[in-house]
Symmetry: C2
Subunit: 397 residues, 2 copies
C-alpha cells in the first residue's frame, strides 16, 4: 500500500509530466492527414458479410524501400487514429501519444513509418475526424442506418481490417504493434493472429483476456443506453438519440479511467451542507456537475449503438480467440512488452501480470514494467512519457 | 503491489474465513427481536420537521444497572439493524456481524449491551424486517407516500434519531459506537456530535469525509433511477416502480463493493466467442446474468427514492458537519480505531488514512489497522473476524 507521502510524490511527478507533455507538443509540429481505407467486402469472425467497409487512417514518417520499418498504433475505447501530430498547425491539441511518437521521440518518425487507424464501430462516429463503419453507417441493402442489424464484431475483426490496410501498402512485416487499453487488445491479437508479421508487441494498460469482473464493468457502461427509452432497441436514427443514457455511460467510463488522486485534484470542492443540496435530492453537487456536464458535452459526438458494439467486442476478448488464453499466447513469436499502470482501477495490473505469467510458462520472455502516476488508467496516455526510454530501447533492439 | 502469490494467499485465507464464519454462526444461536422506536416529532439538520418518525432496533446482551455497558452498532448502506443473532432458530442466516458480536465474541454480549438500529431512509423499506421512515412512508399531511416531499436527511440526522433512542433507554454514555461503511460515518459522527457520550469509536471500511471521487461514485448509483421513466420524479407509488433503474443501481453497488479477486472466483466462466453473444449485443454473457439477475431479485425489496436519499446523505458527509474535517474531528474525545480494507475499491484506505492523519495532527492517538482479504469493501463484513482480537482489545481497554 502506498503511504500518503508516496501518493503526494506520485501526484507532483504526474503533474510535472503533464506539464512537460504540453511543452513537448508545442516544440515541433508533425503534420498528418486523415485518409480513408475501403474494403468492398469483409466477412466477420462471426461469419457475417459487410460491404463497403470504410475506416480512417493516418501516418507519421516515411515507409522505407524495403517496407520493413512500419509500426502500427491501435487506439483505445474512446480514441481514434489521431495518435500524434496535428492536422493543421492551428489545432488546439496534437494526437494522444504525441509525447512518444515523432521525430527523435521514443517511436522515432525519422526512422519508422507509423500507421494508425480507426477501428470498426468507433465510439464517436459523429466526430468529423473519425471514419468508421458500424451500426450508425448506412446499410447499402436498405439505405438506412444498420442499427442492430449490423453484425457483432470482435477485436479480431478490428485487426483483420487493419491487416487488409497494412497489406494494401505492400507491408509484409510490422516492426511493432503498439496500443493502449483496447489498443493493447488489438496489439496482442495481432501478435497471436499474424505471428509471422509482428516482430514486437507493446501492451500499455492492457490485458491478455477479459475476466468476469471486467466483462461486468463493461456491461455497467452498456446498461444506461439499454435502459434509455430513446434507445428504442437501437432504432433511433430518425428520432431523438438516447443522450441521457450515453451521458451516464461516458460518466462511468471517465470516472473509472481516473484514480481518486487526480479526480480529487481536478474536481471542484464542496462546501459543508450546501443549501441547494439540502433542498432536494435532484439538485446536483459541484463535483457531480463537473463530471456529468463534461460527459453530456461529449455525448452527441458518440453513438449509442457503437458504444454497445464496442462493449461487446471488448467483453468477448481473449488473445487469439482460442479456447484458452494460453493457446492464443502460444502462437505469439513477437518480443513482448507489457506496461500496466500501477494505479489503474479499470484494467488493473493483475491482468497484464496474468498474460506475462502465461507467456513465461510457455518459455517466452515477456518484458514487464509498471507506469507510476496519479491518473490511474489514463496514466497509459498522460504519463506514457515516463516510459519513453523503456519503449525506445524495446523498439530499437 | 501484491504479487500473484500474495493474491492467491489472500484468496485462500479469505475463503477459509468465510467458511469459519459460517461455522461460527452455527455454533451458538443468539436470539433477538425487532422492535420499533417512535419519535412523535423530529426536526432535521436542514430545518424541516417530520412527525411520527419510526425506526427499527434490536439488542443483544443485557443493560447493566449502571447503564454504562452499551455499545451501539450502526449499519451500512444496504444493511439494517440485524447485526447479530437470529430472530428465530430456523433463520437461514444470522445478522451480518455475527462473527464478532455474541457471547464470548470480540464484542462480548456476556459483558456488553449491544444496540443496533435501522437508519432513516433505509434502502430496503419493503423488507419486512426493516422499519424506517423516508419517502416511501405515509405523509400524515396527505395520507400518501411522501415521495420527494420528504426532507433531505444527513448522516447527522441518522445519529440524532439514534441519540433519542439511546437516551430513551436512560443511557448517558456509550462504551463504544462501531460501524462499517455508512455505519462508520455514523460512528464518527456520533463521536464528533456527542463527544461526552462516546468513549470509543470504531470505523470499519470508513471515511472521515466524502471526497469528490466518492461523491461522484454515489451519483453513478443515483443516475439509473433518475433516468428510469418509471421513477417519474419520485412519484411512482401508485404505478410501476422503476425496477430497471434500481436493478442497475444495485448492480453498480454490488460490483463496486467487491474486488476482482473474489468476483472472478464466484462468477461463471465464459466460453470463447459464445454463439449467442455473437448473434446480438442484446444477448447477455454469463457473468453479466449472474450479477444482474441477483440485483433484479433484490430490486423490489429496495425503494428507488430511499436509495436516492441515502446517496445524498452520504454525499453530504463530513464528520461533525463543520466547515472542515479538522474542525469536526477536533471535537472528538473518544478513543478511535480505523480498520479499512486493503483491497477496498469503494472507500479505499486513503480515506481512513486522511482522518487518522488529521487526528494525529490534532494531538490525538487514533489506532489504524488494515483488513486483508479478497472481498474488497466487503472484507469489512466477511473478513472482520480476522480483526476480532484487535477489536476485543480496543473495546476492553
Amino acid at each position: 500500500m502506498k503511504t500518503m507521502y508516496q501518493i503526494m510524490l506520485c501526484l507532483s511527478s504526474g503533474i510535472l509530466l503533464v506539464a512537460s507533455l504540453v511543452n513537448t507538443a508545442q516544440a515541433d509540429t508533425l503534420l498528418t492527414e486523415k485518409r480513408v481505407f475501403t474494403l468492398p467486402e469483409y466477412t466477420t469472425v462471426g461469419g457475417e458479410t459487410i460491404t463497403d467497409v470504410r475506416v480512417g487512417w493516418e501516418t507519421y514518417g516515411e515507409l522505407n524501400e524495403a517496407r520493413d520499418n512500419a509500426i502500427l498504433i491501435t487506439h483505445f475505447f474512446s480514441g481514434n487514429s489521431h495518435a500524434a501530430g496535428k492536422y493543421q498547425e492551428s489545432d488546439a491539441q496534437p494526437g494522444y501519444w504525441d509525447s512518444i511518437i515523432g521525430p527523435g521521440k521514443a517511436i522515432d518518425t525519422n526512422k519508422y513509418f507509423v500507421i494508425s487507424s480507426d477501428t470498426l464501430v468507433n465510439a464517436n462516429p459523429n466526430d468529423p475526424n473519425v471514419i468508421t463503419t458500424g451500426p450508425a453507417s448506412i446499410n447499402p441493402a436498405t439505405s438506412k442506418p444498420y442499427g442492430l442489424d449490423f453484425p457483432v464484431v470482435t477485436i479480431g475483426d478490428f485487426v483483420h481490417v487493419q491487416h487488409a490496410l497494412v497489406s494494401s501498402l505492400g507491408i509484409e512485416k510490422l516492426h511493432a504493434v503498439v496500443g493502449a487499453s483496447m489498443g493493447s487488445l488489438q496489439a496482442i491479437e495481432w501478435a497471436a493472429t499474424y505471428p509471422d508479421m509482428v516482430e514486437r508487441m507493446v501492451s500499455v494498460i492492457g490485458a491478455g483476456a477479459m475476466d468476469a469482473w471486467t466483462i461486468m464493468s463493461l456491461e455497467q457502461w452498456a446498461q444506461p443506453i439499454k435502459n434509455d427509452p430513446n434507445w428504442n432497441n437501437g432504432d433511433y436514427y430518425e428520432g431523438e438519440a438516447p443522450l441521457d443514457g450515453v451521458t451516464h455511460t461516458l460518466a462511468l467510463i471517465t470516472q473509472q479511467a481516473m484514480h481518486p488522486m487526480i479526480i480529487n485534484q481536478l474536481a471542484p470542492k464542496q462546501e459543508t451542507l450546501p443549501a441547494k443540496a439540502l433542498e432536494s435530492v435532484t439538485n446536483n453537487l459541484p463535483a457531480v456537475d463537473w463530471l456529468f456536464n463534461a460527459s453530456r458535452a461529449r455525448a452527441s459526438v458518440a453513438d449509442a449503438n457503437h458504444l454497445l458494439y464496442l462493449v461487446r467486442a471488448n467483453q468477448l476478448f481473449v488473445a487469439g480467440h482460442e479456447e484458452t488464453l494460453k493457446e492464443g499466447l502460444a502462437k505469439i513469436t513477437a518480443k513482448t512488452l507489457f506496461m500496466p499502470a500501477a494505479n489503474d482501477l479499470l484494467l488493473k495490473p493483475y491482468l497484464a501480470k496474468a498474460a506475462v505469467a502465461e507467456l513465461k510458462e510457455l518459455g517466452k520472455e515477456p518484458q514487464y514494467e509498471e507506469i507510476s502516476g496519479p491518473w490511474g488508467h489514463l496514466d497509459g496516455v498522460y504519463t506514457i512519457q515516463s516510459k519513453a526510454e523503456t519503449l525506445r530501447e524495446f523498439i530499437e533492439n
